[in-house]
Amino acid sequence: MKTCSFTKTYGSHTVLQAPAMELSPGRIYAVIGANGSGKSTLVKILSGLLASDEKQAPFKEKPLCIGHLPQKPYAFRLNTLNNVLLGAAKMDTAAAKEKALDLLTKLGIETLASKSAQRLSGGETARMALARSMMQDYDLFILDEPTASLDVQSTILAENQILSYRKETGAAILLITHSLKQARRLADEVWYLQNGQIIETGTSEQVLYSPADARTRQFLEFYSL
């Protein structure tokens, strides 16, 4: 999957200037960077939520099946199970229900299946939303800080589920994260963003342990990996 190069400006302020990038199926790409570095703008453009200045599709290939788990997913006024079933292409089938319950079990919230989703805690909502996003198979699955509100135990469950999803579907996964440890645990490749520019890309070993760019080094030193 090849992206086109694109930019996004608000007034005279350029918030993102992305070169053409390549994503391979079955690989996990971690996007790291400080707040306001352009990570969310990047995923919004890639997922089609936001138009770039060029007003063109972000990918060069035929329309891709892209799933996107936003930073603040919405819990609909349904119970947890029905919220998860919303993610299924055909939500009324027995197979969809079985898959939904399986995902809830793997994420440790199966006992909340009949509870109103709007009464879930922040962490429970995040896990429900992750399960809901995983009901379909995508070519590219974009996850915007999926474990930001999770405790350690739930984070491990969620990360295991992300790895299982990659293995089962062969999807390319773009993971936005503030946790360098998570990037190290999950990612095959890392993109470092600063001030709307992709400063460095490479394998996680390269970028996280021996970065070529001084700005990446400075960022990593600050986070004391």
Binding site: L49, I66, P70, P73
Partner: protein, 228 residues
């Protein structure tokens, strides 16, 4: 006040034809106009709350201006449109309940649009982002948005109904407060007050308040069920 209250009770149970007609016309006009305004206002408000278009701000300002439209101005416009020299005279709507309903719809729809717009503006970005991420169809997204807005829709209906029951200016100008035809509770109270018959006016006021109270209790019960 005590005499008026007992007189109101007496009037209700006496089967007074004029009173029953006033209540029937009031309910017909209020329920119809608030329902039509709801059917128009909810989709328009949801659309206005959802779109991200440069002219949206202008539409919101226009709607907010119409929310403050004085009922007598609305009544005057409708009167001029429906009167013998007006462009809609052939419809024969002047001094009819239908004409009063139209005037009420003009007054209520902007209120419901404004109420829905502010609610949908708040929740639609998150719903849109989540629905798009799940690759849901536009129809399904709209259904989910409406499902999320159930409470607000009832609140909007209550707002419209309350305004409709209490409104005097437009309905008296368009309806003419004709006995056994277009006289509603609010115009009847005004007429009896002008005639110096305060007791009956007070009695009608109490009945109007009881009707509003019953409708509000029903709506509150529905809202309470929706919140659970």
């Amino acid at each position: 006040m005590r005499t008026a209250f007992f007189q109101a009770i007496e009037l209700v149970f006496s089967g007074n034809r004029q009173l029953i007609n006033i209540i029937q016309v009031t309910m017909r006009m209020s329920l119809s106009s608030s329902l039509v305004a709801l059917l128009l206002g909810v989709p328009l408000g949801a659309l206005l709350g959802t779109i991200s278009w440069k002219g949206k701000g202008i539409l919101v300002i226009i709607n907010r201006t119409l929310m403050g439209l004085p009922p007598v101005v609305c009544g005057l416009i409708c009167y001029l449109l429906f009167s013998g020299v007006g462009p809609l005279r052939h419809l024969g709507l002047l001094f009819t309940v239908e004409g009063m309903i139209i005037a009420q719809v003009i007054l209520l729809t902007p209120l419901i649009i404004g109420n829905m717009e502010s609610h949908v503006s708040d929740i639609s970005p998150a719903i849109r982002e989540t629905a798009k991420g799940l690759r849901l169809s536009t129809a399904k997204t709209v259904l989910l948005l409406m499902n999320e807005s159930q409470y607000q829709i009832f609140a909007s209906y209550l707002l419209g109904l309350g305004r409709s029951l209490a409104e005097v200016g437009a309905v008296s100008m368009v309806g003419g407060a004709i006995a056994f035809k277009t006289n509603v509770m609010s115009t009847a109270i005004m007429n009896y007050t002008n005639m110096g018959n305060f007791t009956i006016a007070l009695a009608l006021g109490i009945i109007l308040l009881v009707i509003a109270l019953v409708l509000n209790i029903i709506t509150a019960l529905i809202q309470w069920r929706l919140r659970r």
